[in-house]
């Protein structure tokens, strides 16, 4: 049997699915050879972007770059190879009283992916993007050389790579800071909002909270448009925890982890089931306001709890549409977006609304700027393209943009915002699509 590295590859949305060469290596010598011997190389971590950003003609998988390099337990500085997952880091950091400064809504992204997407989380308004805490990283560039990039060294490449979607080279390893925590628990408040005015007000009122996010029912119409639940949280101090967890505040109990065993047939997910789910989710909380302590897994990674949850969208796959618009016109724009979605009937289980803080002007390729972001899943079907067109129209009208990490079909005028990433060596299918559509 001769090895054949051409295989079906797809990311978290199961759309698109392509047949391309994909290889992984753990020796830098062999990675160098892979880079030198191919045109159009793109790095891929754990495949948790949704669309085509980590797909390319020749995909280099970082899954074998999975080793830790150092952990300064005194100062909370960790260095690891780029295929290490955030979940691997939490496993060793949390028991030592450390947490990630910035984490997206899944812990199954690789460190390389976190930098290339410059991921953000529920604390963007308070603590910025992942890159804020990156000290340096090693990057393999077009000629196969490995360079160290930081705020002092190779700064051009450092900032181009942050949020640069892998188009500047292959990130091999990274060093970054962790934050101190006293417990693995979050002091959480969840507050129900009846409509868009209320949720926007709640976001503004909650600005002093480290973590804020809202789940929003995107199928509501009229007066109830924007019906949602705001969740805000702080890392809990040991002394404020309930007695039973105070003794061992950094340890979580092992939980049952269900798996979605197969792709759900297409009819399972339709406007009605989504409506019912959203109704129950909203009604589950009977009080206006609930205060509780919740473990970090439940607070940050509610969906990671169900392995392979992407299969509920069936074999045709799904996209996650994540857009953002500036704060000043946020409410107006968001209302239009939500109306359009509700009228289409093509809604998703969990739509996520978030107010971002100011952008870091140095990290010019990062997605977030000050404004409102909405992220929601759509099952891929024949009407989807039309809906995306309509939504893109609104995003454009309000000077917004689309998150590349989730994008697989939005128009180029909303996605063609990367700078200093032109390379004939490192090319993704997404980048080609965006450039070609822009011509």
């Amino acid at each position: 049997m001769k090895p054949n590295f051409v295989q079906k590859v797809t990311n978290w949305g199961n759309f698109p699915i392509v047949e391309k060469e994909m290889k992984s290596e753990d020796s830098f010598k062999e990675i160098r050879e892979f880079v030198l011997n191919h045109n159009e190389v793109i790095a891929r971590g754990n495949g948790r972007c949704y669309g085509d950003s980590s797909l390319g003609e020749h995909i280099f998988s970082t899954k074998r770059l999975n080793k830790f390099i150092s952990f300064d337990r005194l100062n909370g500085i960790i260095e690891c190879e780029s295929g290490v997952l955030l979940s691997d880091i939490l496993e060793i950091a949390v028991p030592q009283g450390y947490f990630l400064y910035v984490t997206p809504g899944t812990k199954f992204v690789s460190v390389g992916g976190a930098i290339a997407s410059d991921v953000h989380g529920k604390n963007h308004h308070a603590e910025g993007c992942f890159s804020e805490y990156v000290i340096d990283f090693k990057l393999m560039i077009e000629n196969g050389d490995i360079i160290t990039c930081s705020r002092e060294e190779n700064t051009d490449k450092f900032w181009a790579t942050i949020g640069g979607m892998g188009l500047t080279g292959i990130i091999l390893s990274a060093k970054f800071k962790l934050k101190n925590i006293e417990s693995a628990y979050i002091r959480q408040e969840s507050i129900k909002a009846d409509n868009l005015d209320e949720i926007f007000r709640l976001f503004e009122e909650s600005e002093s909270w480290t973590y804020t996010v809202a789940w929003i029912d995107c199928l509501q119409k009229g007066d109830h448009i924007g019906r949602s639940i705001l969740m805000r949280g702080e890392h809990a101090f040991q002394h404020e925890l309930p007695q039973n967890i105070q003794k061992n505040p950094l340890r979580l109990k092992k939980k049952f982890e269900p798996t979605v065993p197969f792709y759900f047939p297409g009819f399972v997910l339709n406007a009605l089931t989504v409506k019912i789910f959203n109704f129950l989710y909203y009604k589950k909380q009977s009080k206006k306001e609930v205060k509780s302590f919740t473990d970090y897994e439940t607070f940050f990674y509610p969906l990671d709890f169900v392995k392979d949850w992407n299969k509920i969208y069936g074999k045709s796959g799904f996209i996650q549409y994540q857009m953002m618009i500036p704060k000043e016109t946020g409410k107006e724009g968001m209302k239009k977006i939500l109306e359009t979605i509700a009228n289409s009937g093509n809604g998703s289980f969990l739509a996520v609304l978030k107010l971002y803080g100011k952008e870091n002007p140095q990290a010019y390729n990062s997605f977030p700027f000050e404004g409102y972001s909405l992220a929601l899943d759509f099952k891929v079907n024949s009407q989807l393209k039309k809906l995306i067109e309509k939504l893109d129209d609104i995003v454009q009208e309000y000077n917004g943009k689309i998150y590349l990490t989730k994008d697989s079909m939005s128009r180029s005028s909303l996605t063609n915002y990367l700078k200093n990433v032109q390379s004939s060596k490192f090319v993704s299918l997404q980048h080609k699509r965006i450039i070609n559509n822009n011509k």
């Binding site: 049997m1 090895p3 054949n4 590295f5 992984s24 290596e25 074998r64 080793k67 390099i69 952990f71």
Partner: protein
């Protein structure tokens, strides 16, 4: 713990599994022919588990100086040394390829195994785990040089188990089926029959704890191989396997 072939992903996953389960090792001796990769693993377990280890370069294709291993002692040995080589027709008639497959999987490996087995014998305790292969259960046209070397290694482990039984040393033969490792990357393996290194490590660890003699990874392979072993030769010789 002594690890032969320590850049094997299964070996590394097993080390991590044992450490996660809270096993204590004064030191882990990581034998390898690839120092760069083994060094990175040594650092990794130091960072992750504060586990001390030592990387020892051992090239089986060169004469081995056993004196330098005298200080090494442990209660657990994990041997993942192996070399798949070229199973193609060109590979079959490439003498270097054939020699290397036999040497690394069997003839050069067994003296090293024996050297350490003797230490276990004199301690009268411990476990020796050897990674063989389902390929050794019956020679098939697609990779029978590798298969026959693994068959010899399986027979060696079985004999060693028998020999060490009343010396209180446990020998575990592991027969992985398809594995999702660097060695098999790009081969068209049925995902339902393929184990990740982590899965394999979990099974092996369980078998080690239960003091099993032979363990297949995944368990379904014990059924598959039972069938394959029992096909009459006059039929088997006609099959394209």
């Amino acid at each position: 713990m002594i690890v032969l072939g320590s850049t094997s992903e299964v070996a590394q996953a097993f080390v991590e599994k044992a450490l996660q389960e809270g096993e204590k090792f004064e030191k882990i001796y990581l034998f390898t022919s690839n120092k760069e990769t083994a060094d990175r693993f040594a650092t990794h377990i130091d960072v992750k588990f504060l586990q001390q280890s030592e990387v020892i370069v051992l090239d089986l294709m060169k004469p081995v100086d056993y004196n330098q291993f005298e200080y090494i002692n442990s209660n657990l040995l994990f041997c993942a040394t192996g070399y798949l080589g070229e199973g193609t027709e060109e590979g079959l008639y490439d003498h270097k390829n054939t020699e290397r497959i036999i040497d690394i999987n069997y003839s050069k490996l067994v003296p090293v195994m024996n050297y350490f087995a003797q230490k276990f014998e004199s301690r009268r305790s411990g476990t020796i785990i050897g990674l063989s292969s389902v390929a050794g259960d019956r020679g098939r046209q697609s990779n029978f040089i590798y298969g026959s070397a693994k068959a010899a290694f399986t027979a060696y482990l079985s004999g060693l188990r028998n020999y060490l039984f009343d010396k209180k040393v446990h020998v575990l033969t592991v027969k992985p089926g398809f594995m999702d490792t660097k060695m098999t990357e790009g081969l068209p393996l049925n995902p339902k029959l393929t184990a990740t290194p982590k899965q394999a490590a979990d099974y092996i660890y369980k078998a080690y704890k239960k003091q099993k003699d032979v363990a297949y990874v995944l368990p379904v392979w014990s059924v598959i191989m039972l069938i394959i072993r029992n096909i009459p030769e006059f039929i088997f010789k006609k099959l394209k396997l």
